[in-house]
């Protein structure tokens, strides 16, 4: 009796344990990944297969195909069900629904096995007794392990960041409104391939037609900044002294090419939805 229901018992125990563990384990830990794979891709399929064919198909390859396919179909329809009922496809409901399917299918499988009787249940197992012999020698297992290790190493190496030659780096200069009406944030992000020193200058330009238009340009700030590749820098410009509508133009020059403008952006003082202003949208 124990042998007849052992696999179903293991699946039910795993389902119950994994439901609890998934709620207790830190989200995103390796253990929760592995449990999620079991809960989504393996256990429901196994339980459904057992319910549909209590004696289980004798061919391991067909069994794998059936388990994965039933699991995929199960998660598809579980998600559809949660969506259509309006409950939402969230973590707790998904886990509960998948575990309920698994346990219910195991119960059906157990009932069907009990009805099947030991003789019929054992028949396929006898026919394919050879299939249960371990197919690999220690040497072949060692070689397979080596192949798996080499494959894993190849994937790890592929993820290693490498220094690239023959490409162009870049520097991103940006502006956005600050926390108050009269402040503006300016930022630099270096995507250059080597450390770089810049000079950032700001000039204000009064709107054409205003009383001070004659004094169009005034150099206000000039800052020297050094950034390593990947580094970011930002500053909030307090423009309380400037009237609304003044345009602030930020010009970035590279220290090694001071004569040419590298990047330019523009913001408008006091324009919460003006130039350089974000549109946190609806």
């Amino acid at each position: 009796v124990v042998r007849r229901y052992a696999d179903l018992g293991v699946v039910v125990a795993l389902a119950v344990a994994s439901a609890g563990a998934l709620l207790l384990l830190p989200h995103g830990s390796l253990a929760s990944w592995l449990l999620a794979i079991l809960v989504v891709m393996v256990m429901p399929g196994y339980a459904l297969l057992a319910a549909l064919r209590p004696s289980m198909p004798p061919d391991p390859a067909a069994k794998v195909v059936a388990i994965v396919t039933f699991s995929i179909a199960n998660i598809l329809f579980a998600s559809l069900f949660l969506h259509l009922t309006g409950w939402g496809v969230d973590r707790a409901r998904l886990v509960i629904l998948l575990e309920m399917t698994t346990v219910a299918s195991c119960v059906v499988a157990a009932v069907r096995r009990a009805r099947l009787g030991p003789r019929r249940l054992a028949r396929p197992a006898r026919q394919h007794a050879r299939a249960k012999t371990w197919p690999a020698t220690p040497r072949s297992m060692g070689l397979l392990a080596a192949a798996a290790a080499v494959t894993a190493l190849a994937v790890v190496f592929a993820r290693a960041p490498v220094y690239a030659e023959g490409v162009r780096g870049y520097t991103l200069l940006w502006t956005a409104p600050g926390a108050t009406d009269k402040s503006v944030v300016v930022g630099i992000q270096s995507g250059e391939l080597r450390p770089m020193t810049y000079t950032l200058s700001m000039r204000s330009t009064r709107p054409a037609g205003s009383w001070a238009a004659a004094f169009r340009e005034t150099s206000v700030v000039e800052t020297r900044i050094s950034l390593a590749p990947g580094q970011r820098w930002q500053i909030t410009v307090d423009a309380r002294g400037l009237p609304t509508g003044v345009m602030l133009t930020f010009v970035l020059r590279r220290a090694d090419r001071p004569g040419s403008v590298y990047r330019t952006v523009t913001a408008v003082v006091g324009a919460t939805s003006g130039a350089g202003a974000a549109h946190p949208s609806s």
């Binding site: 490498v162 520097t171 580094q231 946190p280």
Partner: protein, 633 residues
């Protein structure tokens, strides 16, 4: 390597003719052993050794990728060497009579998974293929909203097919996997499923483990197998499910007992296909209708007719189109109309698409032309051999063999479609479905050759070379040369690795402009923005948006379009690659020419708009804020 071909060890000539409809699986399995597969020991045979060779093949591919990613050139020979090390040893072993069934299944899975890893190591940091951006953003929407049918601004039709997204999101929700990791896992599982199901399908049809192993392995020579079918896209899941459906139906037809299991498996797979991908469900329906017709024509047992499954597939497709995915009709009609129109135009004007030329205009080298032509020639000749083999094995009344043979001929016919640009897409996309037939026919032909010339090393060497040519030819036809190895995406600088300017601008836009800033952008930048949560109403493929982005000056029409679209931000990228949804995501080459860029005027024109100001500038990319009611200065 010993391949188990000994003079005198050939099987009995001919094949034990069996009627699949009357044979249960254990019987079929016993029959298959008569062909010579010594399965008693159930050892793994040469699988461990070949797995190690394939693993080193992957290492060689990774080396080629790293050289390319470091900007040190495209070492094509390393790429091909690695792929051949993965595919050819398994093919040679599968030709042998001595390989056990377990070994054959292991080899087929090994090749399928190692070739999947070739795509994984191509882009190991994030999804970078055009369709992957669509499904990646869909998954993020599902995770954010806990809702399944999310609007997709990149490809609206994907809204109605949430199969891939629901599984990926479930793994993400339950286990906390990132959408990228979960996506890789789901497509990897689908790849494994495809390979095992293909083997089992061919085995159930032919009752020969050798034909099954060879057929499943030679399927990898289809043009899209290495990259396209391995991407995080709905077809990558739907196609394996379709193969499972057909396999389950074949087993249901032949089963005396346990039919409920196979019918339930078929139903689960069919419904899974229908809710996952439109084209795969239509291909499955086409196959089942053809099988039903041939079944009726051959006057086989009515009880074993696949018609109930064809009806179920048809009903499910119609119901899904009516109630869920209505927009698919317009989408597909548009694609097919363009294809037929383009094909007709090509015939009328006698202007053809340049073969083996990428969208960027780079033509493949001459030797690649030769390999591709040779691969097609091998297929054509192999089909004739296969027909002989089918006849000599008594499989001419096998419904599924006949339908797959028809599919193989349809594949060869579809190659004509590659001559016309609009029809190319359909011909290319049909290849992964039709190539199932080619795989089986090639297996028949290969097995027939080995049977006729047993024990000759020259036969084996010739077949190994033919396998390499088939595989390389397919890969060359399906994937442009400049895309086979990765471009520079992440550079390992200190203290931090850096990513391309499109990524930096997209991250800035999400942080500073919000989720719906009313921004228009070209094709590639738009994808980078959408996966970071910046939504759009329009993109560079839309005529009006394209006009705004690429017109050399702001004229009245451009101004009217800016107002009509209610544009508030414009992202302008001077790189011509930015309009290419496969090439527009990488670092720009250092030795680029002016011809690689749009004229400076292209970007500067927005400065002529009153109130338009540059708010972000990364060199090639500039984001302009456009004031409301834009007018010329």
């Amino acid at each position: 390597m010993r391949v188990g071909l000994k003079r005198g060890s050939a099987p009995r000539s001919g094949f034990v003719e069996t009627n699949i409809a009357k044979v249960t699986f254990p019987q079929a399995y016993a029959v298959s052993c008569e062909e010579g597969a010594r399965d008693h020991a159930r050892t793994l045979g040469w699988l461990p050794e070949i797995a190690l060779v394939a693993a080193y093949g992957l290492v060689v591919v990774v080396a080629a990728d790293l050289f390319a990613r470091a900007g040190r050139g495209h070492l094509d020979f390393l790429y091909w060497l690695g792929l051949i090390a993965i595919v050819v040893p398994s093919a040679v072993r599968l030709l042998s009579w001595r390989a056990t069934r377990a070994e054959r299944i292991g080899l087929v899975c090994l090749v399928g998974l190692e070739l999947y890893l070739v795509k994984v190591v191509y882009a190991p940091f994030t999804f970078l293929f055009a369709d992957e951006f669509i499904h990646f953003s869909n998954v993020q929407h599902v995770l954010d909203t806990d809702s399944l049918f999310v609007e997709s601004s990149l490809l609206p039709v994907t809204r109605g097919y949430p199969g891939l997204e629901s599984i990926t999101a479930a793994l993400g929700e339950i286990g906390g996997l990132s959408p990228f990791a979960a996506g890789l896992l789901v497509v990897g599982a689908a790849r494994l499923l495809a390979m095992v199901a293909l083997y089992l399908l061919f085995e159930a049809i032919t009752q020969s483990p050798r034909l099954a192993g060879l057929g499943a392995l030679l399927y990898v020579a289809n043009a899209n197998f290495v990259f396209w079918s391995a991407q995080f896209s709905y077809e990558s899941l739907a196609l394996p499910l379709a193969v499972v459906a057909v396999f389950a139906i074949v087993r249901w037809q032949g089963a005396e007992e346990g039919r409920a299991l196979w019918s339930c498996l078929a139903v689960a797979a069919i419904l899974g296909v229908v809710v996952t991908h439109h084209a795969s469900s239509y291909a499955l329906l086409g196959y089942l209708v053809a099988a039903t017709l041939v079944h009726a024509f051959l006057r086989e047992r009515w009880r074993a007719s696949p018609s109930p499954f064809a009806l179920l597939t048809f009903g499910a497709i119609v119901a899904w189109l009516l109630f869920v995915a209505g927009e698919t009709r317009g989408y597909l009609i548009d694609i097919f109309a363009r294809a037929f129109q383009g094909f007709a135009d090509s015939l009328r004007t006698n202007e053809h698409r340049a073969l083996l030329t990428s969208e960027s205009g780079e033509a493949a080298p001459r030797w690649e032309f030769i390999v591709v032509i040779a691969s097609v020639a091998i297929m054509a000749v192999a089909l004739l051999f296969a027909l002989r083999a089918i006849a000599s094995r008594g499989h001419l009344r096998n419904v599924h063999v006949l339908v797959l043979a028809a599919g193989a001929f349809a594949y060869l016919a579809s190659l004509i479609g590659r001559l016309s640009p609009p029809a190319w897409e359909i011909a290319n996309r049909a290849s992964e479905f039709l190539f199932v037939g080619i795989g089986l026919m090639l297996a028949y032909a290969g097995a027939e050759l080995v049977r006729r010339f047993p024990g000759r090393r020259s036969t084996l060497a010739g077949l190994a070379v033919a396998t390499a040519i088939l595989f390389m030819g397919g890969n060359m036809a399906g994937w442009p040369r400049d895309l086979r190895l990765p471009s520079v995406y992440r550079i390992g600088t200190k203290p931090e690795a850096i990513q391309p300017q499109g990524v930096a601008v997209a991250e800035w836009a999400r942080a500073r402009l919000g989720a719906q800033p009313g921004l228009i952008a070209d094709e590639a930048n738009r994808r980078l923005l959408v996966v970071r949560g910046v939504e759009f109403a329009y993109d560079g493929r839309e005529w009006g948006v394209e006009r705004i982005l690429v017109s050399p000056r702001i004229d009245d029409l451009t101004l009217a379009l800016i107002r009509d679209y209610d544009v508030r931000y414009v992202l302008v990228d001077r790189r011509r690659d930015s309009s290419d949804n496969m090439r527009g995501y990488y670092f720009a080459p250092g030795d680029r020419n002016e011809s690689d860029l749009f004229p400076a005027l292209f970007s500067k024109k927005f400065e002529r708009l009153r109130g338009a100001l540059p708010v972000a500038d990364s060199g090639d990319i500039v984001v302009y804020r456009i004031g409301s009611g834009a007018t010329l200065r």
